[in-house]
Amino acid sequence: MKNKRILIFVIIVLGISACKKTVTVNIPHSSMITINYSNFTKDGGNTYYLDGSLKESKRISEGSIEFSNIYNATALVYENGVLVDSLITDPYTFQYSGKYLSNKFNHYTGLKTYKMVVSASGYKSATAEDIMPSQVPFTITLKSNAKKFVIPEVSSSPTSCDQIEITFTDPVATNDYYSFNLSSLSLKTGFLIFDADAEIDLGKSEPGTVTVLKYGTVFYQDKNFNGKQKTVQLYVPSQSGEDYKYILNSNHISKNLYKYQRSYINYQRTLGDPYSEPVLVYSNVNNGAGIFALRQYQTDTLR
């Protein structure tokens, strides 16, 4: 409130003598290939296909957020230097999504390096590589009305919450990264509560405090529980009625995906705030934009 008033006043004072003009900012740019790819499974097993899009980047001043598809691209995937896949256009969705899909399901093995090389006429060849995280099974339990939390955005009085408990064993000798995403068509709020956990650093000065997340996704690294069995508790405002279900995606993600995800969510959060510092969204694509990132994941439908 006070800052708003100050800013309004500053604007009034400055506005008296302000002059404004539109300027051209000449930042050289030649269109590049944007790679946005990750791996998916249809059967819940550990065979995956790559799904994503190849689109063209463009100048800031080009206005519309429609991005041109990359036509006639050659998109190859190498496993430890050996060609394992050649992506093909998705005939049903390519026109509006620029989607190229894996030619086949592949067994993406943990700790192996996968490299994507995309070339197309008129563009520099773009490359990106990532290391597949190892398989980590997650055990999930759900407990209704387990705890109450004050969620200031919902109510000043405590809100009853369901508990989702995730247990897994963190692999030894690697830096591991995890991401949990909860969704439901009938969720009352988009809030996900992460209970106090001193072992998990969400980037706050006091790790052991309750954190309310607005985007339904929590992600962190294993810095403080490397090689141990770990139990994570998530809470969501309790739902009433029988017709709702939670869909929990538990991901063991690569470092690239972790860095991308952190920066992307930060970017989303600050959109429209002219006073926030700019966010550099992480990219691992050489001669291009976007992300090529791998994960092992498990989807559970709860209740």
């Binding site: 409130m1 006070k2 008033r5 100050i6 006043f9 500053v10 400055l14 003598s17 302000a18 002059c19 404004k20 003009k21 300027v23 900012v25 930042i27 590049m32 944007t34 946005n36 990750s38 799904d51 994503g52 899009s53 689109k55 980047s57 100048r59 800031i60 001043s61 080009e62 206005g63 519309s64 957020i65 999504s97 995403n181 969704s183 988009g190 980037g203 706050k204 006091e206 339904g216 996704t217 995606n249 991901n251 993600i253 920066s263 992307y264 930060n266 970017y267 989303q268 705030d273 006073y275 926030s276 510092e277 700019p278 966010v279 550099l280 969204v281 992480y282 990219s283 976007g290 989807t299």
Partner: protein, 784 residues
């Protein structure tokens, strides 16, 4: 060979120490006002040695007794040189005060060492004194002479954005400058959101800037010391002073003697703006009487001093200043709403000078400094039952210091001037305290305005200004400081060295090294001098900032008195803080420690400075080539990026031309490479449908790509200011001056900030905001 001569000289000095010696000491004063003259030069030509008076006009020289007659020469910029012969009775020490006559028409009006000492002779480097007369005659924004803006004309010193008073010295941030008013730190030196500084030029006697080669007596900030001294007040009969009228504010200064025997003096100076006189009636008119708002600032300087005896002198000085923005709402002529934002500094100083014998000068200082920022709202409203309820809120941020310090100047022999001292400061921080009061909802009543943290800071120093030989001189010292946080006691031992070597009588090479530490931080990611900028102490997690600075330079004065200097510097800074990606200083829900990251910075550059001090045309030219970078663990993905005020080229010229006896013309021109800002360089599509990773409800179709932080260079900044002063002495002997000025004379639209926006077709455009077009000004002052 030269080294042998130097060693021999030292030995001779030591041998001389066994011969009979005597000391001549005393004070140097202005003949007309009896104000003491700091930094005046005292030379004993028979001994080929000299010294300078200290900040309180005291001097002391001890030499071997060679006869009953001693010739002494005294000089001070703008004053008649004095040569006197003193009778020494049997080698007995004597105390003698001297009074120097002002030349009346100050010749050295452009940036000069106020001391007559030539720049190549001092061991001090990287420091410049700005005469207050020059500051008053320079073209100024809206006709308001400004100390801080005048400093921006010096090489190595940059202003922030258009019109702002903040300074950025050799790659440092705005919080890395220690601004002292009579030795007391001033935490927020700006009025009107940074467009004017809090220093009233009528009450100021001297301004000295140190940007490197810091003497050991200074500490607490990394990048600069701005040492501003208030006038003492003239010890003349009757009341004298000046009165000035300007477009923004008016001010007066009165001074006079205290008591009948010229033992003391007093000074009062005040200034008030009248922006509210225009804004308030306009707002009432526009709202039909339901709303009234306005803004004003004022400041007040008071100083007095009194000689308790020959060897004791006391000083008391105070500064108070306030800015206030108010907004009031009325219903049926009854006030139902009020919002006030006010902020201001209070400083106070009590000082006792005592002379121990004739070689030691002691100075006890007790200081007080406070900066406070308040947002107060109150409201009256009827509820559904018709009951009148009141609600009020107060949000306060405050820093308050109590300090106690003792300094000693020891003049044991003319080849060593030793300064030493120790002090303690108790900081009290009250950041973002809240008081809420409601007549209808007692549950909201809160008061955390007593939620303060008190932190002691200690410091001590010793420095020696040593003459090894005629050619080699050095200032060597060490500064020690300590600061307490809840679980740590941080300490820092900071060595300081400054060396001068005379290649020829008018040429010298200088080198310096300084290590500095800083224990408080200014939280602000805005370049505008917002009063919400918050001073906070370092913590267990956020460590003290430290710096190491090396400088090497050459100084020369030509036969015609033109001064020329070149300095190269290299500065590294550790634990500097920067806001993390995506954080905003407006976000009060997050701890400030979480929003910032510690990293390192380094800057290096070359500064050239030329000045012509005498004649009808006087002036200065400064050019700085500089590089200024930062690196943090995660910001900018850990890569090096340029600091916002990394300006490659910085060129300034200021000239003053005395057209006639009663007319002088002045002009300034500045050219600076544009600021570095973060601008997106292209956009690309964001990921679509990576299930389980992204929430579709928050999906956005595009991402603006920032190559790196501060990746875009704004257009260059340049501006010409002009002014003409008409002086006249009235029949009653008053000196009247009319000043006409032109700010931004060729109406350059300098960029204030640039941001991407959308036009009516939905296309992204870049909009540049510029602040000040050509602005004329007029001012009037009367000196009586």
């Amino acid at each position: 060979m030269k080294v042998c001569v130097s060693v021999l000289s030292i030995l001779i000095f030591q041998l001389e120490s066994y011969s009979q010696k005597f000391t001549i000491s005393g004070y140097l004063k202005d003949k007309k006002t009896s104000e003491r003259l700091a930094g005046a030069s005292i030379a004993l030509p028979q001994y080929n040695i000299g010294t300078a008076s200290n900040n309180f006009g005291f001097y002391s020289v001890t030499v071997p007794y060679r006869g009953d007659s001693l010739i002494i020469e005294l000089s001070y910029s703008g004053y008649e040189k004095v040569r006197d012969t003193i009778f020494i009775s049997n080698g007995q020490s004597i105390q003698k005060d001297f009074s120097l006559s002002s030349k009346g028409d100050l010749q050295a009006v452009v940036v000069t060492a106020q001391r007559l000492q030539k720049i190549e002779t001092s061991s001090q480097m990287s420091s410049i004194s700005m005469p207050i007369e020059l500051i008053k005659k320079m073209p100024s924004f809206l006709g308001e002479p400004d100390v801080m803006k005048a400093l921006q004309f010096l090489p190595g010193v940059q202003g922030g954005n258009e019109g702002q008073t903040g300074i950025y010295v050799r790659g440092g941030g705005p919080d890395q400058n220690l601004i002292l008013l009579d030795g007391v730190p001033v935490y927020n030196a700006s009025h009107v959101y940074g467009f004017f500084s809090v220093f009233n030029t009528d009450a100021i006697s001297s301004v000295e800037l140190y940007k490197g080669g810091f003497p050991a007596r200074f500490g607490g900030r990394l990048s600069s010391i701005v040492d501003i001294r208030m006038k003492e007040g003239a010890k003349t009969k009757g009341v004298h002073g000046t009165a000035s009228l300007g477009l923004v504010s008016s001010k007066f200064m009165l001074e006079g003697a205290l008591g009948n025997k010229n033992k003391g003096s007093w000074l009062v100076s005040a200034r008030r703006s009248y922006i509210d006189a225009i804004l308030t009636p306009l707002s009432k008119l526009n709202s039909g009487g339901t709303n009234s708002n306005g803004y004003y600032f004022w400041d007040l300087n008071v100083k007095t001093n009194y000689e308790l005896g020959v060897k004791d002198h006391i000083y008391l000085s105070a500064y108070m200043g306030k800015d206030k923005f108010f907004d009031k709402g009325f219903e049926n002529k009854k006030q139902v709403f009020s919002a006030n934002i006010d902020w201001g500094n209070i400083t106070g100083m009590a000082r006792w000078n005592h002379q121990f014998g004739n070689k030691v000068f002691g100075n006890l200082s007790a200081t007080y400094s406070q900066y406070q920022f308040n947002v107060a709202n109150s409201m009256l409203a009827k509820d559904s039952t018709g009951q009148l309820n009141s609600f009020s809120s107060l949000n306060r941020s405050k820093i308050r210091d109590f300090g106690l310090k003792y300094d000693l100047d020891i003049y044991n022999n003319p080849y060593h001037t030793i300064k030493m001292g120790a002090g303690v400061t108790f900081h009290t921080f009250t950041p973002n305290a809240v008081a809420l009061k409601s007549s209808s909802l007692p549950s909201v009543n809160t008061d955390t305005t007593f939620n303060v943290s008190q932190v002691p800071e200690i410091d001590s120093y010793i420095e020696d200004d040593i003459s090894f030989s005629k050619k080699l001189k050095a200032n060597i010292g060490v500064h020690f400081s300590g600061f307490k946080t809840p679980n740590h006691f941080y300490t820092s031992l900071q060595p300081r060295v400054s060396v001068r070597y005379l290649i020829k009588p008018t040429w010298s090479i200088k080198a310096s090294y300084s290590n500095m530490a800083q224990y408080i931080e200014l939280l602000s990611n805005s370049s505008v001098g917002l009063p919400t900028d918050l001073w906070v102490p370092i913590t267990d997690k956020i460590k003290p900032q430290t710096s190491d600075q090396f400088a090497l330079g050459v100084a020369h004065t030509t036969d015609k008195g033109y001064e020329f200097s070149v300095e190269a510097y290299y500065k590294t800074m550790k634990n500097v803080i920067e806001y993390k990606d995506g954080t905003s200083y407006l976000n009060k829900n997050q701890s400030w420690e979480d929003m910032v990251e510690m990293g390192k910075g380094w800057s290096y550059g070359l500064e050239t400075f030329f000045q012509k001090k005498y004649g009808r045309l006087t002036g200065l030219v400064g050019y700085t080539l500089s590089f200024n970078n930062r690196k943090f663990p995660t910001i900018n993905e850990g890569r090096v990026f340029p600091y916002k005020y990394d300006r490659r080229h910085d060129f300034k010229i200021a000239v003053l031309y005395k057209l006639r006896k009663n007319i002088d013309l002045s002009a300034n021109w500045v050219f600076e490479t544009g600021n570095s800002i973060s601008m997106p360089d292209y956009q690309y599509s964001s990921p679509v449908g990576i299930q389980g990773i992204y929430d579709w409800s928050t999906y956005i179709g595009y991402i603006f790509h920032y190559g790196s932080r501060n990746n875009y260079r704004m257009p260059s900044y340049h501006r010409l200011d002009l002014a003409v002063n008409f002086h006249k002495t009235t029949k009653r002997g008053f000196e009247r001056t009319w000043t006409f000025g032109l700010y931004n004379a060729y109406n350059r639209a300098n960029p204030y900030f640039i941001y991407p926006s959308n036009n009516s077709n939905g296309h992204t455009i870049f909009v540049q905001e510029s602040l000040f077009p050509i602005i004329p000004s007029i001012g009037y002052s009367l000196k009586f």
